[in-house]
């Protein structure tokens, strides 16, 4: 599902740089990405999603070299193939629950909003336990409910890849488990790939593979440049910042 090789990325301002010699995520795999703040976890998700483009190397997502696409094509690809979940939910406060779930269908013509999609959105909301709140403004929801709306928004287009950036970071333990359950159940039922950035080590047992950025962050340059991300169990080097 995801194949990264010789990826180099540097922000135009600031000294942060990311180098990922190699990273492979299989289709249907559930991967947790952990590491200290500022180590590049979110940047990696942005590169996989095509939100940012690397200076060199390639990012192949769902068999498409996303780093080689033009901006418009990347957006079209992203909205059809990738579901994004953010730590801060990033809901539009002037919309109600249903309109937030349907947002992707209103901001890109490559998705067609029709009756079936609306029906699917309502069913998703019901599955998430917020079916009775679809007409409510999102400002009047609890934190857990807001994140469930955000998850519904990410799942509505039935994407083969889910990228979640600390999706449980702002939730209490009950909601934390509930949201993660939803994401994992969806991924298993649809055979989708799930890549989740998290700081919560209690949740790591729910994932098939864990990529620890810190471990590679501290590696000497010559090692990191010749290594790729591996399971914690194998302790192979993975992506690093330099």
């Amino acid at each position: 599902m995801i194949s990264i090789s010789e990826l180099r990325f540097r922000y135009s301002q600031g000294g942060f740089a990311l180098y990922v010699p190699e990273l492979e995520v299989e289709s249907g795999e559930r991967v947790a990405v952990i590491g200290p703040s500022g180590s590049g976890k979110t940047t990696l998700l942005n590169l996989i999603a095509g939100i940012r483009s690397p200076q060199s190397g390639s990012v192949i997502t769902n068999q498409v070299d996303i780093s080689g696409l033009a901006d418009g094509a990347r957006r079209d690809f992203r909205i059809r193939n990738i579901g994004l979940v953010f730590q801060e939910f990033e809901l539009l406060e002037y919309l109600n629950v249903l309109d937030n779930i349907l947002l992707a269908y209103r901001i890109n013509a490559s998705l067609q909003l029709n009756k079936e999609v609306r029906q699917r959105a309502v069913e998703l909301a019901e599955m998430m336990g917020i079916g009775d709140k679809v007409s409510r403004n999102v400002r009047r929801l609890s934190q857990g409910e807001k994140q469930r709306v955000a998850v519904c928004r990410a799942l509505l287009a039935e994407p083969p890849l889910l990228l979640a950036d600390e999706p449980t970071g702002n939730l209490d333990p009950t909601n934390k488990d509930k949201v993660l359950d939803i994401l994992i159940e969806y991924a298993e039922s649809k055979g989708s790939t799930l890549v989740t950035v998290t700081h919560d080590h209690d949740l790591l047992s729910r994932f098939q593979r864990i990529i620890d950025f810190k471990q590679f962050y501290d590696l000497p340059e010559q090692v990191s440049k010749t290594s790729g991300p591996q399971d914690l169990e194998t302790q192979d080097p993975g992506p690093r910042t330099s």
Partner: protein, 393 residues
């Protein structure tokens, strides 16, 4: 497109106070110069139409504007008075028909216009109920006066004293209402029309009192010298003209010397009008002749110059308002940076996001312009009535 417009609508509806303030500001700033233009145009037409319908005005030398405003709209102070002999002079010239006016007294705030029945024909006034005045002491009301006072034929109105402290001055005269005019939406609607002689009765120049030869008046007689009788204040003077006392009303002296405020001169033809104007050219003439249209156009020239300044000021305010609105939009964009980023991240197209933001701005601008247009149409439609109400009281 439909979907982005929907999102724009939801945003504007959610921030309805901000939207309303923006739309309101843009509406006002668009409407004010346009509306002012419409109102000034209508005012100009309103003022000039009556002036243009009045060919010539003759009055005592003085302010032509005062003479025109008093004679056309029954507004402003009474101009310097001329005499009825001036009307006779015009009549005798054979060049124009004179319509004398004596606009000096009031009943409450309504002007009492002393004139002749020719005035009714000249202005196209029609009696809607009752009849025209026929005898001394009768009056015909303009439609607004009748409506405001709630009076009609058979009722009475009383002239107001010019000054409550002037005991020797004009005393109130109770006048019989015999008719109400059909509305014409002009100054005539706001006036009370009486015969010229009745106006002189109000002034006390024509008066009626107890028969001095009657035995009951004997006690009040101070001196008799031929036809002249001097009496004290105990002699009863009539403040209402009735069939019983109408015969006692009499003139002292000839009518020629009686005051009037102006004469509308209706020339028999253009040449007669020119000749008549020429006759008032002499420097030593105590009267003046004016063309009301010319006088009012001079006044309008001043008003229009003021309008130019007001419009210029409004344009500056409009620029400032638009700059402020632009700033509000820019600040709004900054506040919405995160929302825009989110839409970009999940895959929103640049076109859709741009359309969303632009359509919000366009919607606010369009709403402002449409509302301003609606206000302008309403002003054009109903402004004339408003102007009449403002101009005519």
């Amino acid at each position: 497109m439909k979907d982005t417009l929907y999102l724009a609508w939801r945003y504007l509806a959610h921030h309805r106070v901000k939207t309303a303030i923006l739309v309101g500001s843009l509406t006002l700033i668009t409407f004010l110069p346009v509306g002012l233009n419409v109102i000034v145009g209508q005012s100009a037409r309103e003022l000039t139409s009556r002036a243009e319908a009045t060919p010539l005005l003759v009055g005592a030398k003085g302010s032509p504007l005062e003479l025109a405003l008093n004679s056309l709209y029954f507004e402003s102070d009474t101009p310097d008075l001329t005499t009825y002999s001036e009307a006779v002079r015009i009549e005798d010239s054979g060049l124009a028909q004179p319509i004398p006016l004596y606009v000096r007294f009031r009943s409450r705030e309504y002007p009492i216009v002393g004139t002749t029945l020719e005035y009714f024909g000249f202005r196209g006034l029609e009696v809607a109920s009752g009849r025209s005045m026929a005898v001394l002491g009768e009056c015909v009301l303009g439609s607004r006066v009748a409506a405001d006072l709630g009076v009609g034929p058979g009722d009475t109105v009383v002239s107001s004293p010019e000054s409550v402290f002037d005991l020797a001055g004009v005393y109130p005269l109770k006048m019989q209402v015999v008719g109400v005019l059909a509305p014409l939406y002009t100054a005539d609607d706001h006036a009370i029309f009486v015969d010229l002689k009745t106006a002189w009765v109000i002034q006390g120049l024509v008066h009626g009192h107890q028969d001095m030869d009657a035995p009951e008046a004997a006690a009040g007689v101070l001196k008799r010298e031929g036809d002249n009788i001097t009496a004290n204040a105990s002699v009863v003077q009539y403040n209402e003209i009735t069939p019983d006392n109408v015969d006692s009303f009499h003139f002292h002296g000839g009518m020629d010397g009686y005051p009037i405020s102006a004469i509308i001169a209706v020339p028999h033809d253009q040449k007669s009008g020119t000749i008549l104007m020429g006759r008032y050219e002499a420097d030593d003439d105590i009267s003046q002749i004016v063309q009301p249209a010319t006088v009012m156009n001079e006044l309008l020239g001043t008003i229009l110059t003021i309008r130019e300044f007001v419009v210029a000021a409004l344009i500056l305010v409009a620029i400032a308002t638009l700059a402020t609105a632009a700033l509000v939009f820019l600040l709004s964009l900054r506040l919405r940076r995160r929302e825009i980023d989110t839409m970009s991240k999940i895959g929103g197209s640049r076109l859709s996001i741009g359309t969303l933001l632009v359509s919000e701005i366009v919607a606010v601008l369009l709403a402002g312009v449409l509302l301003a247009g609606l206000l302008t149409v309403l002003t054009a439609q109903f402004g004339e009535g408003l102007i009449r109400a403002l101009l005519l009281g």
